[in-house]
Symmetry: C2
Subunit: 140 residues, 2 copies
């Protein structure tokens, strides 16, 4: 899913999030960089155009956007939090060799979850790990 600037603006207004310059830029960055960046990568990437941007702002913005459901938090590995523009249901595959995170489509809603009959499910995350085709080829 690719957001336009106008769509982002509209969505943020609906969620009652103030549209500061920094927040718009962070969302733009997430929409243009689809490689699941960390907060640090976002901070480094945006410092070129916003030299005063602080890391605290990046974190607080990402937390606010995650609470509002605009971005998805990815905890596929314990020592790194990554972020994604929230899109239709999909899983994340992390290659343990090269570290790349791939999206893959998966109909998570179709999973039978009889055990959770009376649970209120707000968020579903599917994480796979293994080796990607590129790294499999290099091992030969």
């Amino acid at each position: 899913m690719k957001y336009s600037n106008e769509e982002l603006t509209t969505e943020l207004k609906i969620k009652h999030i103030r549209l500061s310059h920094q927040r718009v830029r962070i969302l733009d960055y997430l929409a243009s960089q689809l490689n699941h960046p960390t907060a640090d990568q976002i901070h480094t990437g945006l410092r070129k155009e916003i030299p005063t941007l602080s890391k605290t702002t990046v974190y607080s913005t990402l937390n606010a956007l995650a609470d509002a459901g605009v971005v998805r938090v990815i905890h596929i590995e314990g020592n790194e939090t990554r972020y994604d523009i929230r899109a239709e249901d999909h899983g994340h595959f992390k290659c343990e060799s090269c570290g790349t995170i791939y999206d893959f489509t998966a109909d998570i809603d179709s999973l039978a979850t009889g055990d959770l009959k009376n649970f209120d499910i707000k968020d579903r995350n599917l994480y796979y790990k293994g080796t990607c085709p590129t790294c499999i080829g290099e091992k030969i």
Copy 2:
């Protein structure tokens, strides 16, 4: 799944993991406490019977057992790593109100993953978040 001491011993030998006193105790603890403890909880819980147990040992043991596939690492939340005796495929549901982590059965293998045709998938994790029935009841 519930391991007996004998089964644990056998499984560890197969995986070529030395059976130190500390490692056996950590595995016993995981097999008896099915509440997905953190490394710190394991350390605190075992200090009663092994006063000299260091946190470093707990971490290195858990990492070794995870590499060998005997325990499962749970990263449902970014700031806490939890551990589980590896069992048949199941997902984890975390209640955002009380923090409890529930197991639920889910046939993860049944998910269509055409996007990952040439990927070598070694590990599958399914994480849900929301509110558990107990906390839903208390909110009324």
